[in-house]
């Protein structure tokens, strides 16, 4: 059950440098169980790098990162990651992709689980179609299905709306809202204010690697946020 008092994830003074470029700079962040958090920022603000650090795809240059998953310290089993790439094999069918990942995650009854996730995302009709032939929206839903196969506690989403049309976005938001209601923790990174504000309770702005603004959604005037965002981004100066 969600317990907001225990932070699921804690970052302190996390910095990532690529040579002289600082992609992520001095980030302090706490995410509690059941949070839905959106991090906004212009291109090159370091959002993707921050997410990759949390996903343990890359190590921070300095700083600490702690997970508090109950009873299991294996963060890989507890994190689901949707990157801007699909992480799916174009030559395999939707079902084969899910089955492959289910086996990789050592899920019992992999067949059933893969079929179940396809149904949940409304992709049964495309079960035996190669994902290379999927539309962008279908592929994105399959990507989400892949990330959710192992029932992760923390779901990381990197620009999930890229390339989706209106209808696709709406469908995708519906699915995410469902996940939120299930009590899953969501961390969304995007440069698109609309979807993030609609979905998330907490918002942050990252610019030039730093987190420059954060607020809880309840206290936020959503129309005023846009103004605030551009102000914050301009103050930092765009890269």
């Amino acid at each position: 059950m969600p317990d907001p008092s225990v932070p699921l994830l804690r970052l302190s003074k996390v910095t990532k440098r690529f040579g002289v470029i600082r992609a992520v700079w001095n980030v302090d962040l706490e995410v509690s169980q059941g949070d839905s958090l959106a991090i906004f920022g212009p291109n090159g603000a370091g959002k993707t790098t921050l997410l990759r650090i949390i996903a343990s795809l890359t190590q921070p240059t300095s700083g600490e990162i702690e997970f508090a998953f109950k009873g299991d310290n294996q963060s890989r089993n507890r994190v689901g990651y949707v990157s801007h790439l699909s992480l799916l094999y174009n030559e395999l069918t939707g079902f084969e992709n899910l089955l492959f990942y289910a086996r990789l995650y050592d899920i019992q009854e992999a067949h059933d689980r893969a079929a179940e996730m396809l149904a949940k995302m409304g992709l049964e009709g495309a079960r035996n179609q190669r994902t290379g032939e999927y539309s962008r929206g279908m592929k994105q839903r399959l990507t989400l299905a892949r990330a959710l196969l192992h029932e992760p506690q923390l779901l990381l989403l990197d620009e999930p709306y890229t390339g989706l049309d209106q209808h696709g976005s709406r469908l995708f938001t519906e699915v995410l809202r469902g996940l939120k209601q299930e009590g899953r923790t969501i961390l969304l990174v995007t440069h698109n204010l609309g979807e993030g504000l609609e979905l998330c309770d907490r918002v942050m702005i990252q610019n030039r690697g730093e987190l420059v603004f954060q607020a809880r959604g309840e206290h936020l005037d959503k129309s005023g946020f846009e103004k605030l965002y551009f102000q914050a981004v301009e103050e930092g100066g765009e890269r």
Binding site: F18, G19, V20, T61
Partner: protein
């Protein structure tokens, strides 16, 4: 630095004045002192690359990568010295620039290729832990190849015409003295160069840290 200058001058004296002229090979044989001195240091330097790689993968401390990188650079320079002095000596003596089939020559050449490839890998990667790790891995793989290269060429050679019989007759005592000094001088040179390169790398990463700290304030 001062002992190094002293040693180098002593080595030059030993090789060109102190040691007698070789009876059959003549003056050109004098290159042998530096050739051997450089050759031993190749292995020393490349062992340093291996050590630095293992050290980095275990500790993740950047100083190990500094060691590996510096050793590669210096090792490649010394290998180049070996590969340049070798043919100069070989041509008048064995009537061939490049005795294919001699395990030492071939091993040195393969080593040169491996570590030049290492430098290319280094320069094609962006600064960061990934780079240090990849280089460490390649440094280890490269060093593992040394015994295989050696045996491969040794065994292969047994059924091929042997170009070189024995690398030299008995050495005069003066020659041994000169060789001894040359090897020591070259080794000190090698170690000094590695240390200089490491110091340079350390300074530049410290400068980066200072810049960071200033920006953080």
């Amino acid at each position: 630095m001062i002992p190094l200058y002293f040693l180098m001058v002593l080595a030059l004296y030993g090789a060109f004045l102190y040691a007698p002229t070789e009876r059959e090979m003549g003056e050109v044989q004098r290159i042998f002192y530096f050739h051997v001195g450089a050759a031993w240091n190749c292995f020393l330097a490349f062992f340093g690359v291996f050590l630095g790689g293992v050290g980095y993968l275990i500790t993740r401390k950047q100083s190990w990568d500094h060691l590996a990188a510096s050793c590669t650079e210096v090792g490649v320079v010394f290998t180049t010295i070996v590969l340049v002095t070798g043919p100069i000596w070989a041509r008048p003596i064995w009537n061939t620039w490049w005795p294919w089939g001699d395990p030492r020559v071939m091993t040195t050449m393969v080593l040169w290729l491996i570590y030049v490839a290492y430098l290319m890998l280094r320069s094609s990667l962006p600064e960061g832990e990934t780079k240090y790790k990849y280089c460490a891995v390649f440094g280890i793989i490269g060093f593992l190849d040394v015994p295989i290269v050696w045996f491969s060429i040794r065994w292969w050679r047994t059924i091929h015409p042997v170009v070189i019989t024995s690398s030299g007759a008995e050495l005069e005592p003066e020659m041994i003295h000169a060789l001894f000094v040359a090897v020591i001088a070259m080794t000190v040179l090698c170690v000094t160069l590695v240390m200089l390169r490491m110091a340079m790398r350390l300074n530049s990463s410290m400068a980066e840290e200072v810049t960071d700290a200033v920006q953080r304030v």
